[in-house]
């Protein structure tokens, strides 16, 4: 229990708080830098694996040799370029724009000669790497390919695809891509691929975005802006995962008694004393400004350890909506 958030906010009876997330086909984990997005993504993947879900974790990358914050949680330097085990029961892969573009060209240019000509064309390669929307299109198509993959029994190869999304702007340009490009190219193979992608991404039973935030002023403001942006691009949103919520060990009486010395001396320990107060204020502000579920992940001594986050996610508590506003969706 995270004390001090409010003792009556216990976990709801029944299953754990991320069961909704684990039912989806594709989940985008997004949020501003420095909030622990990749630890939460890794923890969610671990949780999925423990529940027996065939999970694929992804990160958007330019180069398979790039440093990967997500891979670090699995004791690796980088993610594989195509799905391969990165931990027991967990597959990982980079979503590479270039390989997505190649897959797309191969699927569209049925003629082998044309496809080979296209792929070996220096001019075409340069065009694809320069145009901003071409890059997103490549990522989009690569994701679509993973979503389509089926096993011999007809079941999806990857039941759940979890994506550690880059900074806010990049997330919105990916979720807004189908609508933007469909306005430009309403017909043809690109349009068909975009519509198929949309049929996953805009369906709340199949896809969801979760915003990771921390209970501080600017991160909460940016989280609210991001939620609004996601809504505008038609991306279903599962909720906010409030990471590193400070634990408050003090009783109300102790707080009153200690306040004077904290203010006068500003001693060692004052930061720890004051942080939960701010966190409560910011969580309340977030609650007042969104109807979406807010899940609290308490701060842990070894901050960011994904296995402990996964444990905590099983029992994490949700911040209920005020009585007057109805129930949590």
């Amino acid at each position: 229990m995270v004390r001090g958030v409010r003792s009556s906010w216990g976990p709801r009876a029944g299953s754990h708080q991320l069961d909704e997330l684990l039912k989806k086909r594709v989940v985008l984990i997004t949020g501003k830098g420095g909030v622990g997005r990749s630890s939460v993504t890794a923890a969610a993947a671990t949780l999925a694996q423990r529940q027996g879900v065939r999970v694929l974790v992804c990160e958007i990358g330019d180069d398979p040799a790039d440093y990967s914050p997500l891979a670090r949680h699995f004791g690796r330097e980088r993610l594989p370029a195509s799905p391969a085990p990165i931990a027991a029961g967990i597959l990982g892969a980079l979503l590479l724009a270039r390989s997505g573009q190649e897959l797309f060209l191969k699927s569209v240019l049925r003629s082998g000669t044309l496809a080979r000509a296209a792929l070996s064309s220096d001019a075409l390669r340069r065009l694809l790497s320069a145009g901003p929307s071409f890059k997103e299109m490549g990522v989009f198509f690569q994701l679509l390919t993973y979503l389509r993959e089926k096993r011999s029994d007809g079941q999806p190869t990857h039941q759940l695809i979890l994506i550690d999304m880059p900074a806010t702007g990049h997330t919105l340009s990916l979720t807004g891509l189908p609508e933007l490009l469909l306005r430009l190219v309403p017909r043809g193979p690109i349009a068909a691929a975009l519509r198929e992608g949309q049929s996953y991404l805009n369906d709340p039973t199949l896809a969801s975005a979760y915003v990771v935030a921390i209970a501080e002023t600017l991160p909460v403001s940016e989280c609210l802006e991001l939620l609004e942006g996601l809504r505008k691009t038609g991306m279903p949103t599962g909720g906010v995962l409030m990471n590193r919520v400070p634990v408050d060990p003090f009783t109300a009486t102790e707080r009153v008694a200690l306040e004077e010395v904290i203010e006068r001396v500003n001693p060692l320990g004052a930061e720890g004393f004051l942080k939960p107060v701010l966190a409560r204020r910011e969580i309340a502000r977030l609650r007042a400004n969104t109807m979406l579920p807010i899940t609290l992940i308490p701060e842990m001594p070894q901050s960011g350890l994904m296995r402990s986050i996964a444990d905590v996610l099983l029992t994490a508590e949700k911040v209920p909506l005020p009585q007057t506003q109805g129930r949590v969706a």
């Binding site: 330019d62 340069r126 790497s129």
Partner: protein, 372 residues
């Protein structure tokens, strides 16, 4: 470069461009604002150039968001911050779409040409797509401002990006499109039989991928745009040379978190690889200063009411944790200093009070940077 130790205070006073790189959420924009404030306080004409900043910073500096050109920080705020003529502080929170439009107008030969590009629906849609355009426009704006010579120093807050050096790579990719006349391959050919045949194949590919109608539109768009691309290409190469020169300093802003540190190291290697002048680390949110904080004396503790006494051991465990963190951050700074090597430095900026990016706080940070 002299062999003297690099000092951030000197960079502020002597360089023409300071580029702030770093992962998202490390306080990069605040650091860029504090650096520019410090330089203006030291008597220089300064511009801070930032993209997609927090509203709060724009409010602190008293400038509007997304104006078409740089704007002066209001005179009363400059005076309050101790900036007096001929020194000045301008800020530009730029909107990528506006800057892209501006570049088109500048690089086209006639207003009619400009209108043709600006009115093209491919241009309208793609330039509205923020990711990627950020990098082009930042580079474009920086180049223009530096060549104009209106400022002694331009501080660039790089766009939020997983890879902060993307803003250097993205224009290079754009340049790659023009080099070897890549675009020409997509355009209808009249000259040789071979070129015509090659162009036919590409036409087929484009029609298959985009549909015939859109492929036509795309080709005609690229014809109009190729002239602009080539003009921009010259700028990009000149800019790369300039950014590698002695008038420029790259600073990496980081925080004590393991992930942002790892990324800072990655950026440092990358700047070296690209031949860019890496000049130092700014370690934000350092708790190193807490080593000087004290535990309350016996008398203060005695005054705490009996029913609150049970809180003291709890406070004490926070105190232990904070002291430990402070020592860790102190060690971290030493490590960064060693890593910085001969031609660079490392300095720590303490954690700012929550949400306090008001002018007073910025000046405090600015003074710390200037003295470093």
């Amino acid at each position: 470069m002299t062999t003297d130790t690099v000092r951030i205070g000197d960079l502020i006073r002597t360089r023409r461009v300071i580029v702030c790189c770093g992962a998202g959420g490390v306080g990069k924009t605040t650091t860029a604002a504090a650096l520019s404030l410090a330089a203006a306080r030291a008597g220089r004409r300064v511009l801070v150039l930032t993209i997609d900043p927090s509203k709060r910073l724009a409010e602190t500096l008293g400038v509007s968001r997304n104006p078409p050109t740089p704007v002066a920080v209001p005179a009363d705020r400059q005076a309050a911050a101790g900036i007096s003529a001929p020194a000045s502080l301008d800020a530009w929170m730029l909107d990528p779409k506006l800057v892209a439009d501006e570049s088109v107008r500048r690089l086209t030969k006639t207003p009619e040409d400009a209108q043709r590009v600006l009115g093209n629906r491919i241009y309208q849609q793609v330039s509205a797509m923020v990711a990627g355009m950020h990098e082009y426009t930042a580079m474009e704006a920086l180049h223009r401002l530096v060549t104009e010579g209106r400022y002694d120093l331009v501080v660039l807050d790089t766009p939020p990006s997983r890879h902060a050096l993307d803003f250097l790579e993205a224009p290079k990719r754009l340049a790659g499109l023009v080099e070897g006349r890549a675009i020409q391959a997509f355009l209808p050919k009249r000259d040789s039989l071979v070129a015509r045949a090659a162009s036919k194949v590409i036409e087929k590919i484009l029609s298959a991928v985009f549909g015939e109608e859109f492929a036509q539109e795309l080709v005609s768009f690229m014809m109009t745009f190729s002239g602009i691309f080539s003009a921009l290409n010259v700028d990009v190469n000149a800019m790369r040379r300039f950014l590698s020169g002695p008038d420029v300093a790259f600073l990496l802003v980081t925080s004590p978190a393991a992930s942002t540190l790892a990324e800072a190291h990655f950026f440092q290697d990358k700047t070296k690889e690209l031949g860019l002048p890496f000049r130092g680390f700014v370690l934000n949110r350092s708790r190193a200063r807490n080593t000087s904080k004290r535990w309350p004396d016996e008398e203060s503790l005695d005054q705490i009411s009996p029913e609150g006494k049970s809180g003291i051991p709890k406070l004490q465990s926070f105190a232990h944790a904070e002291l430990e963190a402070a020592r860790r951050d102190l060690g971290l700074l030493t490590e960064l200093q060693q890593r910085a090597g001969q031609n660079a430095t490392a300095m720590a900026v303490p954690e700012l009070p929550q949400g306090a990016d008001d002018m007073i706080t910025l000046i405090t940070v600015a003074d710390a940077l200037a003295a470093a």
